[in-house]
Structures are given as C-alpha cells and as structure tokens.
Symmetry: C2
Subunit: 359 residues, 2 copies
C-alpha cells in the first residue's frame, strides 16, 4: 500500500473561496460569517474537483491513499480575528470530511487549526478534538508562525504551545509543521516561507527539550525537512558543539520528514542521510509546483518516481511508503487494520459458504 | 591556488569585543563611542589570534588565501543607532585591514557594511567605498535583514537597495548575502537564520528583475545556497510556473554559491545540480561548526576534503577553487595578477643574471 502523507485540497470548489472572500469582507465591516447555505457545495462539485486532479494523479502514479488537509496557503491565520480563523477552519475541515466520506479508500483527513496571532494554542485544541473524535481525522497541521511571515509567536519548544501538545498526546495524533501564506514581502510562500519554517522548526527542536517533556509527541517536517538534510552535517555538528545529545537520541523518535523534494538528487540525498524510519512518502500534490520538468518529461511533484529510481531495499521501501505513516498516525493504522479485517471477513464468508455447499 | 571565499575574523583579540561592549553601554547611556586607544590591539595579538586558528587551518588543509571579513554574527546591525553601526563597522573593517597588511599572502579583505534598520542602503556606500579604495578590500557582506530576524526591510530586489548596488557596480565588487545574529527567539543564528536568509534571498532574486536593471551585479549566497540546491527541482519548477526565464538565464550570471556544507552528501548534491561556474570554494572557518565529525574523524568545516573526495575534473576543480573567485571578485584577480607578475619578474632577473654570468 502506498500512503501519501502530504496532500492539500488545493482544488476545492469555488464556493469555498467565495465564502472566504465574504468572510474577509464581513470582518472588515465588523461581522464574522460562518459557512452557510449561501455557499453550498454539492457532492458532484467535490467529485469533479478531485476526479481530474488528485484522484487522476493517484491512479496515474500508483498511489493509494492521501493524508489530506485543507489548502495550506489559504489557512492565512493572520487574517481577521480568532473567530474568523475558527469559522474558516471549521468550513475547511468540514469539507475535507466530506471528501473522505465520498472517497474513504482514497483520502483520510488532517485538520487545519484555528490559530490566530497572539491567541493561545489551547484554543485550537477544541477544533482538533472535534475533527479527530467526530470527523475521524488522524492529525493536524500546526502553523509555527500564525502571523504569516513576521514570526511573532514563541518557538515551538516554548510552554506557550504545551496545552495543544497535551491534546495531541491525549488523542495520539501528530502534527505536520506547516506555515501558510506570507504577508511579509521578503518571503515568497512556497519558495521561501515554507522551506524556512521547516528549517526553523527543526533547529528549535534541536535546541529545546520538548521531547523530554513529551516523549510521544510527533511532528512531520514537510518539504523534505526544508534545508535540514542538505545541511545534515551542520546540524550534527551544531548539536555536538551545543552539547546536545546526538540527533538520533534527541529527536529522531519524534521528528519525521516527508519526500516533497522535486528532483532526483534531492531525494537521493534525503535517503542517504536520514534514516528510513524517519521518512514518509509525500508529494504535496496538487501543490506548490504543478508543471512538468522539461529535463525529465515528468511532473516535478511525482516524487514516487524519484524513490522508484533509487536503490531502496524492500524493508525501507515498505517503511517509507506505508509503515512509517501507520506508525506516526496510529489512528490511520487502526482504521486500515479495521478495514483490512472487514475485507478479510467478507472474503472469508463466501468461501465458508462454498465449503458448506460442497459438503 | 586555493581561494577560500568565506572566512570571518571570529577569533579577533578580546579588545575588539571590549570596545563593542563599551559602545553598547555608551549607546544606552546616550553616547556613541568610536574605537580609540583605550581598546588598542597590538600586531602580536593579531598574529596570535590567527596563527593558532585560521593560519594553522590553512596550512593543515592546504588552502592558500581566505577572503576575510569581520565576524558575521557580531555585525548585529539591529543594535544601537546608525552611528553605532557605522563606528562598529569601521572598527571591524580597520582590523581586517591590519590582518591583510600583516598577512597579504593569506588574507584579502571584505567589509561589513554599516547597515541599520530603517537606514537607507545609500548610507552604506561611503564605508564600502572607503574599504575598497583606501583599504584595498574586494567586496562586502550585505545583510538582507538588518533587524536581526524580524525581516522589516524590503526584499533585496526592491529599489530601496539600488543606491548601494550602484556603488557596487561602480567599484566592481560583489556582495555575499549574509545576515547576522538573530534577536528573534524563533531563529537560531547559524542553524536557522543564516540558512533561511540564503533561501529567502535566492527566491527574491528568482521573482524579481534585479539583474535586468544591474546585469553585472554579483552576489554570493553562502552556506551552500541555504536550501536551494537541495530543492533545485522546486526552484526550477517555481520559475517555470511563475513564467520566469530558466534559472540559467535569469540569475546564474549573477548568483553564486559557496561550499559551506558540512558533509560529503551535501557537497555531492551541490556539485550535481549547480553548474561548476557558479560554485566558489568556502569553508566559513573558523565559524559555525568548530568540532570534529565523529563519523569521519575530520573537522566538519574542512569542506576541501569533501571536494577532494568527489570526482571533479581538473577544469571544474580549477573553477571552484580559484577561477570563479577571481571572476566574481575582479579586484582580487587584479591583485593576484599583479603579484604573479612581480613574482615572475623577480624570478626572471636572477635567471638572466645567471645567463650573463655564464656568457
């Protein structure tokens, strides 16, 4: 089974964006809209939005299941108030839930959190709990910079974030560290802000003692870990110079990297320096880069192709494509195990009946 | 000849730091100190500070000449006023000049600019001109974020920076894009802020038209280009999706990367994806990581060792270790050519005399 740990609903029906625009206009005028019948999205619209995009690409690339979350760049936690962010998150998460209901074999949900600059992370715990317990989601995307490029929150290792981590541990769900769009003109969102946030989060984890306090807390650092694998020697050396434990002990039980790196040499480096136990297949599709690489004639974000081109033994291949995702997302593992048991039972019943007929 | 394009005077005599502390205390008390006799540094102190550090490592590693600038993390442009920054830059640059005077075969100077948050980059032009014309420096370090981690300046492609670029073009000197320490607790200086700034600057160059306006302007992005080579596919794809020209046309005549990447797989990737014409040997020594890699038994920052371990043809090797530095720093080339001519002349005279003796 091939699980893609990093997909966003970048192709959502236009009514979602219309609601967002109305919400932002409402906020400016002093009100906070909730999603309503005015912005109704039909099941067929959802199907259409996926059939020619994520589902088509799943089939073409031979992947099975995408861990699916709202469009990351649209989270835009810096817009409006905490209420704005909550209602927007609810609308986006509810839509992901509908996707999963329509295509339970193809998608499983990860939620957007209703973060807001200055708001306590504890306030995100309720929406996380709703999504996990009521909608069957298996994780969340955590924005380390709800200000959108001004980096005004404390580092992820600060106690500021602990109430949310307590809820994550209670629910046994991981977070992907994922910023949103940037309102700082220095940072292009997908070309700088995303990658910088990945690198920044890793260095915060390296210098802090977060995993002493939360030994089972788990984070995925997307986009191949930002700059980290390329500078793995620098990080090993910094840990040593700072008298920190070796990285394997310090954070590799808690921190994982996806494979959203869009060329073969990058994936090759990732596999060379990061243990296979810490790599989860991901493609970010349909996402940051949507076109075909003229050097290969293939989509830049067809990251499975790079993995397939490299000499991976079966055990590591199984970890990267399936087992690590099931380990990092235990609720996914439980769901898949249940489905596999149901499937086995369904297959077993006619066989027993057959035996009865013949006896 | 082996030219290291990235060295900082991280081992400067203690009196420099004492001056800095007095200067910061003075600023808080309402005055702006200049370097004075009170903080006198003797030639022997300079020699001692280098003999057991940079010079010893040059000899041990077989490198010849280091392009040498003040300690980057100590530039701290966010501290004090524009005058504070000017006087601190002058003190640091004057000390680099003394290093070069004492060891003209081992070091050549690159200056710190007297940047300050909100100050016009034009104000840095005078110190750049002084360093180049009076002290014989060959380039500068340009901080894209004088706020120290709050990123309050416009992007490097903004006209805000143009007066400084005009001076750089007039003097025919490049800049290394190099931030300083971070006063934002999110960003560890050498583990996050440095690397993020490198990635950020590259993406700014990718999205802007700076090199249309300044076709001869040249930047070195240090630390192996931040995350850029690891994500080279992402950047090629983003350029394509954004309808920008191919990277080779857009910026590879103007943007160069050093080799400050502290493990073999990182350097291997860099050589695979970045043209040899755009790579300058650098080690950042004595710098961000000072210890020995237990996996190799060698210093993490002995980057020449990684290059030596990889299959480089002679032409590319010559580019990376010498020719590119001479091309990117034309004033270095002129200086070396002059020295080589003098050397040749000195060697030729006794030979002619010898011939005369025999005739």
């Amino acid at each position: 089974m091939i699980i893609d740990c990093h997909g966003h609903y970048t192709t959502a029906p236009a009514a979602l964006q219309k609601f967002r625009e109305a919400q932002i206009a409402g906020f400016k005028a002093g009100s906070d809209l909730s999603m309503s019948a005015e912005f109704k999205i039909g099941d067929d619209e959802i199907r259409n939005s996926l059939e020619n995009a994520q589902l088509k690409l799943q089939r073409a690339r031979g992947t099975d299941l995408t861990i699916f979350s709202p469009r990351a760049s649209a989270m835009a936690h810096h817009i409006g108030s905490e209420t704005t962010s909550l209602r927007w998150s609810q609308a986006c998460n509810d839509l992901i839930h509908r996707v999963v209901e329509l295509y339970p074999d193809n998608f499983v949900g990860v939620c957007q959190l209703p973060q807001s600059p200055g708001a306590a992370p504890a306030h995100s715990a309720a929406e996380l709990e709703r999504c996990v317990r009521e909608l069957g989601f298996i994780g969340c995307n955590l924005n380390p910079d709800p200000s959108g490029g001004h980096w005004t929150s404390p580092p992820l290792t600060d106690r500021h974030w602990y109430p949310l981590y307590e809820k994550m541990v209670e629910l046994d769900v991981p977070a992907m560290v994922h910023v949103s769009s940037s309102c700082n003109p220095n940072f292009h969102a997908t070309g700088a802000h995303y990658i910088n946030a990945d690198t920044t989060a890793f260095m915060q984890f390296l210098t802090g003692d977060l995993f002493v306090d939360f030994p089972t807390l788990r984070f995925i650092i997307p986009h191949g870990g930002g700059a980290v694998p390329y500078h793995w020697g620098r990080y090993r050396g910094l840990a040593q110079d700072l008298k920190r434990p070796p990285l394997a002990d310090l954070l590799l039980k808690n921190v994982f990297f996806d494979t959203c790196v869009y060329h073969l040499p990058g994936i090759e480096l990732l596999l060379k320096v990061i243990p296979a136990d810490n790599i989860l297949f991901g493609s970010e599709m349909v996402g940051a880069v949507r076109s075909i690489d003229p050097e290969t004639g293939q989509y830049f974000d067809d990251t499975k192709r790079y993995l397939d081109a490299l000499p991976l033994n079966e055990a590591d291949r199984h970890k990267i494509f399936e087992a690590n995702a099931r380990r990092v997302f235990p609720r996914l593992d439980a769901r898949l195990a249940k489905r596999q048991a149901q499937f086995a039972e369904r297959n077993a019943q006619p066989a027993r009946q057959g035996v009865n007929h013949e006896s």
